[in-house]
Symmetry: C2
Subunit: 298 residues, 2 copies
C-alpha cells in the first residue's frame, strides 16, 4: 500500500467547552493534535460540527496535510457530549461530513474505551463537570453527569459554585466567614454580594471551575467552610464511582482535572479497584470506530 | 382642580417574570391594574421599559384613558428588579419616558414601603426567588436574594430544583427513592434521568417553582426526601429574616407565593414579630415617589 493511501485515523473528544482531535497511525501512535471550540452537539448543533472540522483541519495541517486532498483515507471517530439527546444524534447521522468514514458515540463511551483499552471497566470523571460510568460488553451505564444546573456534584464547577454560595451567605451574615471565604473575596476583588452576583449569575460552568483549586487548597488546610464542601463532593463522587464499578465488574479509572485534588477524600475502599487510564478519549473514539468496522467485516 | 387635571398615580412592580402596573387615586384606592412581561432592567434593558409601558398602557386603557392624552398628569413610581446594578440604574435615568414624572427604586425597597405603609420594617419574600430585607429610615439592607444560580435558597425555584436533583440521585441509585420522588417522576412522565435533564437543564426559575407545591405537600406527609429539603430552606429563610428584622428594629411581613406553604417550618421565635403586609409593592412604589416629591417640596 502506498503511504499516501494508508488510512489516517483521527479521534475526536468533543465536550461542552472544547473539542480535541488527535491523528493516530495504525498502531495508535499519536502524530498530531489540535483543539477547537465546544462540540456538545445537543447544545451547539451545526456549530459543533464546524468545531470538529476546525480541530481536524488544524491537526492535519500540522502534518502538512489537508482534509480535501486526503478525504478518501480519513477515518474519523468521535466521542461527543450531547449525543444522548435523540434529536441531536439523528441530526448528526445526517451530517454530510468530508471524511471517508465518520462514526460517533458518547463522550463517556469513548472515555471508557480509551481508559480500559476497549475492555470492560468503569471511569470516574471529575473535571468541569462530574460523572461515573461503567462499560460491560457494548452497554454503557451512566451515573450522575446531569449538568451544571441539576447535578455535577463534586465537579470543579460545583465546587466553585458552592464556595461562592457560601461566601454570599457569609457576606449576608447568616454563616460565619472563614479564612477561605475572605481569601476568595480578595482573590476576586469582591466588596459586596452584588459583585459576585454581577459576575457569576450568568457565567458558564468553566468560570466556576476556575475556583476549584482554591477550594481544594483550603480544604487541605481544614478550612471550616471549604472542607465540608469538598467532603460532600467526594462522598457523592465515591457513591457514583461505586455504582459504576459494581456495574462493570472490573477496574475503575479516575480522570479529569479535579480528580487529583479530590483524591484524598475519596472512599479508600475504592483504592484496590483503581487503575490508571490506559489512553484518552480520542484514542477511545478510534477504538470505537475500529470495533464498528470489524463488526462489518471491513 | 378639573377632574381631567387631577394627577393619576401609577405604581409599577417590575420583576424577572412579570411586571404589574396599578392605577391609584389620591387616597390610594386601586382603580385599575394590568400585567405585562418581565421588567428586570439589568437583564432586559430597554425591553423592560417596553413592558412597563405596556402594563401602564393597558391599566389606563381599562379606565378608557390613553398615555398620550394624559401624559401631563401621569405620576409613575416603579420598584424594579435589577436597579441595584449601577449600569442599569444609569441607563434608566436617561429613559425618555412619556410621563409627567417617573421615579424608581428597587423592587425590594418598594415591597418594604408597601408592606409597612412607609414605616421601618422587614420583609421575608419567598416566591419564585427568595430574599429578606430591612428598612430603617431611608436605608435598605438586603439579605440573600442572590438569584437562581447562586442563592434563592428556600424559594419555590430552589425547592423544585433541589427536589429534581434528589430525584436524579435516586434514579442513579445513589440515594433511596421515596414516595415523593416516585410521585414526581409520574407527575412529570419521567422514565429516565435524561428526561429530566432534557426538560430542566436550561429551564427558567419559574419552571422549577411550579414544582414547589408538590415538595411542600410531601414534606407535610413527612416524606424522607421532601421534608429535609423544606426544612433546609426554612432554616435559611428564618436566618435571613432574623437578620432583616434585627436591622429594621420593627415588624416582619411575610410575602410571596411560597410563604404560606413553608410557614409551619419557619422559626417560631419569629412569630411575635410577624405582621401582615399592609399593601403590595405597587402601592410602595407610589409611596416612594410621594416621599421624593415631598422632599422636593412639591
Amino acid at each position: 500500500m502506498n503511504t499516501s493511501e494508508a488510512p489516517i485515523f483521527i479521534g475526536i473528544d468533543g465536550g461542552g467547552t472544547k473539542c480535541r482531535a488527535v491523528v493516530f497511525d495504525r498502531e495508535y501512535n499519536q502524530l498530531s493534535t489540535a483543539v477547537a471550540g465546544p462540540a456538545n452537539v445537543a447544545k451547539y448543533g451545526k456549530l459543533a460540527y464546524d468545531e470538529m472540522l476546525a480541530a481536524v483541519r488544524e491537526a492535519l495541517h500540522r502534518l502538512n496535510l489537508e482534509i480535501e486532498s486526503e478525504q478518501h483515507r480519513l477515518f474519523v471517530g468521535a466521542g461527543l457530549a450531547g449525543v444522548n439527546v435523540p434529536s441531536a444524534a439523528r441530526a448528526l447521522q445526517q451530517w454530510q461530513h468530508p471524511f471517508a468514514r465518520f462514526d460517533f458515540t458518547s463522550d463517556i463511551h469513548a472515555a471508557l474505551l480509551g481508559a480500559h483499552n476497549g475492555n470492560d471497566g468503569a471511569v470516574l470523571i471529575a473535571g468541569t463537570g462530574s460523572c461515573a460510568a461503567g462499560l460491560k460488553g457494548n452497554a454503557v451505564k451512566q451515573f450522575g453527569g446531569h449538568g451544571f444546573a441539576l447535578g455535577d456534584k463534586g465537579s470543579g464547577a460545583w465546587l466553585g459554585k458552592t464556595a461562592l454560595a457560601k461566601t454570599l451567605e457569609s457576606l449576608d451574615g447568616v454563616i460565619l466567614a472563614s479564612d477561605f471565604t475572605r481569601d476568595l473575596q480578595q482573590h476576586l476583588s469582591i466588596r459586596s454580594a452584588n459583585d459576585i452576583v454581577d459576575v457569576y449569575n450568568q457565567a458558564p460552568p468553566s468560570a466556576f471551575a476556575e475556583l476549584a483549586p482554591l477550594v481544594i487548597a483550603a480544604a487541605r488546610d481544614r478550612d471550616p467552610i471549604a472542607l465540608p464542601i469538598v467532603v460532600e463532593g467526594a462522598v457523592y463522587l465515591s457513591n457514583i464511582a461505586s455504582r459504576a464499578l459494581i456495574y462493570s465488574g472490573n477496574k475503575l479509572a479516575l480522570v479529569g482535572g479535579v480528580i487529583e485534588g479530590i483524591l484524598p477524600w475519596l472512599d479508600e475502599n475504592l483504592n484496590p479497584s483503581t487503575a490508571s487510564a490506559h489512553h484518552g478519549p480520542e484514542h477511545g473514539a478510534v477504538i470505537y470506530q475500529r470495533t464498528k468496522l470489524q463488526a462489518k467485516g471491513q
